[in-house]
Amino acid sequence: MMAIARIHIPRRVLVFTISLVAIVVILYLLGYAGISTKEVARGALFVMTPLALAAVGECINEKAGLVNIGLEGIFLLTAIFGVYGAVRLGSGVAGLLAGSLVGAIIGFIFGIMSVYGRANQVVAGMGINVFGEGMLLFLMMTIWHATSYEVRSEFMISQISTPLGLLSPIIFVAIAIAIVLHVILHRTFLGIKIRAAGEKPEAVDVAGKRVDRIRMFTCILGGALAGLGGAFFSLGWLGTVVKDISAGRGFIALACVVFAGLEPLLALTAAFIFGFAESLAFTVMSTPAAHSFPFLAYFLRMAPYIVPLVVVAIFIGRRAFPKASGRPYIRE
């Protein structure tokens, strides 16, 4: 009996497991309700991808002690720069890389400001969001003279066929990145350095490692991943650039980070759970039954925001974040 009692399963892992089981049960029941199970699951994976990319990057970033709430702004800017890069360079993959590069540059600027300029990180992040929203519209008007732009199919990332239907390869890239970064964070020396930079930067300094360089690295990495997610919106998923293309998903990614307690693998799962909620709402919206009640659509569109809010409110549990999170490190 004692041996069993000693096996400790963290509450958070338990919550995630229960949620995933619930999703499987719901998917199974949907089959009886005449809603395509495959379609819901496929949609969930698409919604998950940008959320997961940005959230995993932000997990690493916050572990190292920086809080960048400018993910929404990075999404918006890289959604357009991804398409611009793809059109200019003539390939969708190049567009994705251009998107990550722009994201990395924004991360770099944020890093310089936060690490060396001791900026208020929340204000700087919000500035990135406002900047992104304004610049997206400005760039669209300047480049295409229109408020929406259809990406030509030759520049889209080609999808691969799977048992679930056509899926973007970027979905698998996102899952792989989450797993690799989880392993790096918990199983390598680099991961120890990153975690220490957030928990006790003085100790890292005393050990002869540079706190500023670790934080710059995580910042650029986080920006690049969010940038890949932003470019995925336009090049891998929606096939268009419009105002508010990411529709607050940069903040839903932040909710994933909080829900996951800064663990990359849990952030991936959180992104899938939120993606499932959104996909389910949209699938219900397109059923014939929902068409006869058009006002329902307005309430179903709230689902992607209500679910993260409720989930975070129920499960946050006042977990301790890295001690030096959000604070600049000043050498004595």
């Binding site: 990180q121 307005y298 709230m302």
Partner: protein, 323 residues
């Protein structure tokens, strides 16, 4: 991609927005009125953010509270016949209360569950966006399906010039009232202490929850009023169901508050500055062919710049030297 415009022309266009560059007789006071029409809601949303910052909170929920306040204002103004004088008063108060009610949700989530206000506020902004769109189309529409019912004559704010209504005076009065509250009254002192030094506040026996609640409620009242000012104004005296009349005001308020150093009085000139900037967007487009959305980007850069304490310190040092 290269932006080959003459920068001098750009500055001239911006000055026109403030009513300062008088080349043709149409400019001048009329332009300043347009700038002030932008400034009134900016002042109020900036107040939302500033009161939050004073209590150590990052309240970016003004956007959603504007939607809710605006919807409440349009409802009372267009669907109830009330005596003149009392009607406009009722519209204003109900809009403010609606904004405060919406602000209570992130406040309670923060106090009871420790949910970070940035996440809850943004989620609630989007929920409010879809909710108010639904209300505008299904419950508030009047003569036109896509515009809410015109405010009755008894519910309209007096027009000063163009789109500028007497709300600007209420906005300035609210700024002054919040200043008095924060610096002259005890609950305001408690609120600031919680923001400056939560540990000291806790030792002094100050209820941190109450300060958070108070800061959210004041912010909600201000944002609700901003919603009323945007919903009840010429030429439509109602708001469009796309919510284009409201969009962006909440976020610009962040920049206004930061430039005004989160001080209720400092916000007033900062809001007029941002109002001029927003108004100059029209001239950027007509004079130079630069898309007016550039102004949104500029506002973002201002916010990013305000994040740097070194910059702020530098400005303070310059001012001290000047003395």
């Amino acid at each position: 991609m290269v932006l080959h415009y003459n920068p001098i022309d750009g500055y001239v266009s911006m000055l026109k927005g403030f009513g300062l560059f008088i080349k043709q007789r149409t400019f001048g006071a009329g332009e300043l009125a347009f700038a002030l029409a932008f400034a009134a809601p900016y002042m109020l949303t900036a107040l939302t953010f500033a009161v939050g910052m004073r209590a150590g909170l990052f309240n970016i929920g003004a956007e959603g509270q504007i939607y809710i306040g605006g919807a409440a204002a349009a409802w009372i103004a267009g669907h109830f016949a009330l005596p003149a004088g009392f009607h406009v008063f009722a519209v204003t108060i109900i809009a403010m209360l609606a904004g405060a009610l919406w602000a209570l949700i992130p406040a309670l989530l923060k106090i009871r569950r420790g949910v970070h206000e940035v996440i809850s506020a943004i989620m609630l902004n989007w929920i409010a966006y879809h909710l108010v769109m639904y209300l505008a189309i299904y419950h508030l529409s009047g003569k036109y399906a896509h515009i809410t019912a015109e405010a009755l004559a008894t519910a309209r704010y007096p027009v000063l010039s163009g789109t500028l209504t007497a709300v600007i005076f209420i906005a300035i009065a609210v700024c002054i009232a919040v200043y008095i509250f924060l610096w002259r009254l005890y609950p305001g002192y408690e609120l600031r202490l919680v923001g400056d030094n939560p540990d000291a506040a806790r030792y002094a026996g100050i209820s941190i929850s109450r300060a958070i609640l108070l800061s959210f409620i004041i912010g909600g009242l201000a944002a609700g009023l901003a919603g009323a000012s945007l919903a009840i104004r010429p030429p439509n005296w109602g708001f469009n169901a796309t919510l284009a009349d409201f969009a962006g005001y909440g976020f610009v308020g962040i920049g206004v508050a930061l430039v005004g150093r989160n001080h209720p009085i400092g916000i007033i000139p900062a809001a007029i500055f941002f109002g001029g900037l927003a108004n100059s967007a029209r001239y950027l487009e007509s004079d130079l062919g630069v898309s007016s959305e550039l102004v949104g980007g500029i506002q973002g850069i201002i916010i990013i710049a305000m994040a740097l304490p070194l910059l702020v310190l530098l400005l303070a040092r310059l001012r001290r030297k000047a003395k």
